[in-house]
Amino acid sequence: MALKTEPIVVNMGPQHPSTHGVFRMRVTFDGEIIKDLEPVMGYLHRGVEKLAESRTYTQFIPLTDRLDYLASMTNNLAYVLAVEKLGNIEVPPRAQYLRVIMAEMMRISSHLMAVGFMINDMGAFYTPLLYMYREREKLLDLFEMVCGQRLTYNYMRIGGLSHDVPPEFLPALKKFVTEMPGFIDEYDQLLKENEILLARTKGVGILSKELAINSSASGPVLRGSGVKWDIRKADPYLVYDKLNFEIPTGTVGDIYDRYWVRMVEMRQSVRILEQAIEQLPAGEVRTALPHLVRPPCGEAYGHIEAPKGELGFYIISDTGVAPYRCHIRAPSLINLTALKDMVVGRMLADAIITLGSIDIVLGEVDR
């Protein structure tokens, strides 16, 4: 007797512990095997791009904090870089170095969360995550020292920074930079050769090189697939051309490669921080600008290598006090587009960690 079977459709999300917010996946299962997956986004849409049109250029900076709220500083940076490009505004060298320092601190912090939550999705019950929180806490203390905030910093300004760092910041950062490699070694000890972690991540959620390029993925997801593309090298901004660092690339494009790329990038970020502290010049941190910035008529695209990938702001000015149009290229959203191809034919548990390995933040996906 042939039993009649039919696929089961499960709505994972928008309330689900592993969709990292209000992301929804409409998954068709055959037993535990995924037959189809349809991502549904938009539950956190706040119309940030439209809000930009009714605020002055400076007033929009705090709103960028709310995009990728795990890496607010880099959102600030990408936006002010775009406006500075539009208005041909010079930034003092000290501010440029401090911006690099902030961006790399943010990258370490964001990667810690990405790796920690990915392993949490794998079912490790918070232990690796809480070890990573220990270091993230130190970074948040540093950010608090700089600007008084721990999550949404609002520290960058058009033409520089809101103010210089306090005198106790640099010694504290130096201490962190000397300690951090030891902590990364500790994570490697806990995770790198863990048999279960290898079995769960090797060869799972493969994103081929071609598909990665065709879906215009960026950041660790693209580099995990073996494409050596990093905007810090490909189109250097700030003072990245004066700093030595390497771009790690994976070979297979599986979850393990993405994990590995993030771990190596943290080490490289520490290296950048060391050099930036050494080269940090004295001087002003902000160019004097009129209270209301009015860039000349035109358009500009400023992009940076955010922790999650290429974060770009495309701004059109009609010489008014607010952007005529502001578009945000959010890496989380674009990296997410290849999700279906990565998980169809695999199991439920694989889909969860594949999503975790892409490292999305819903504030950025839905804007």
Binding site: V10, H16, P17, E32, D121, F125, I196, A199, L348, A349
Partner: protein, 363 residues
Amino acid sequence: MDWLHWIIYVVIILVFVLTLVMSFILIERRVVGRFQLRLGPNRVGPQGILQPVADAVKILLKEDIIPSKVDRVVHLLAPIVTFAPAVLVFAVIPFQQAGPGLGFALDAPAAMANLDVGVLFVFAISSISVVGLVMAGWASNNKYALLGAMRTIAQMVSYEIPMVISVLGIVLIAGSLSLADIVDKQNIPFILLQPLGFFIYFLGATAEMNRSPFDLLEADSEIVAGVNIEYSGMKFAMFFLGEYAYALAVSTITSVIFLGGARFPWGLLPQSFIWLLVKILLVFFVMLWIRSTLPRVRIDQLMGFAWKFLLPLSLINLFLVAAEGMLPSGFTWPIVALNVTLAVALVVIWANRFYRVGGAKVA
């Protein structure tokens, strides 16, 4: 005075199970907290010892929700079917052996029923709890619960086989199915004579009670707590208590079968139920250690591990025990050395082989 015996033991077992389950909940939260660089609950009472009481009061005051589309009878019966077997197991546990002990002497093993088929009883009863979980998964009328129930059947049925075969080795050595007899025979703890058996039993038992890294049944990050997703209030508490009662049962059985129960190792001190308690806590600590260190395995890896890794090893182990049983007596220590070496060698060799044939790799 038969009825008095029953009543006394019912009280003893209920007090034993409930107090230890309560303390297990607290110990788990505190110990896992230490593993995770945090303190754990320490606000309610000194060192947080009243936390389980506070939790119990909270959960009793919760509204008892029965979703409208559930199968009411099965839905309400499932928590009881899950919880009861975990307590029933303790009916055959010898808390202390007959003879002189620390403080007082007994003329019979301190067990509610010293069954001649104690081991069989333990495994027969404990496998009933899977029925309760399947009932819960089916009756909840929820897709996550159903997925969880499907995983449960596959997992529990698979892991029972290597687990039972590994205990057969102990039964061969002891020559009895009675738990009191098994403890009596442990002039050295059977974990030394049967390291491989212990390894297989412990892993199998970890999977049986759905603890990490085999906690697929209630994988929070995948199927959102699985079978108990639709349960609230006291019904959920029954599942929760059942899980810990089962963890307690497994710790106790492991202590009795492999660690010598109430006996102090090598009889250096008189036997006492206190040693049993210490051993139970030790075994539970190892479970917590595993839980807070390892990520979860995937369902196909889990099944592969049971059928391709644990089952062959448990059969080899049974063969070795039978072969060693034919040796004349008096070779205890050489056999211990041989078995420990063999256990390590077999696990390493089989793990490599398991990896090569693709057991742990992608399907």
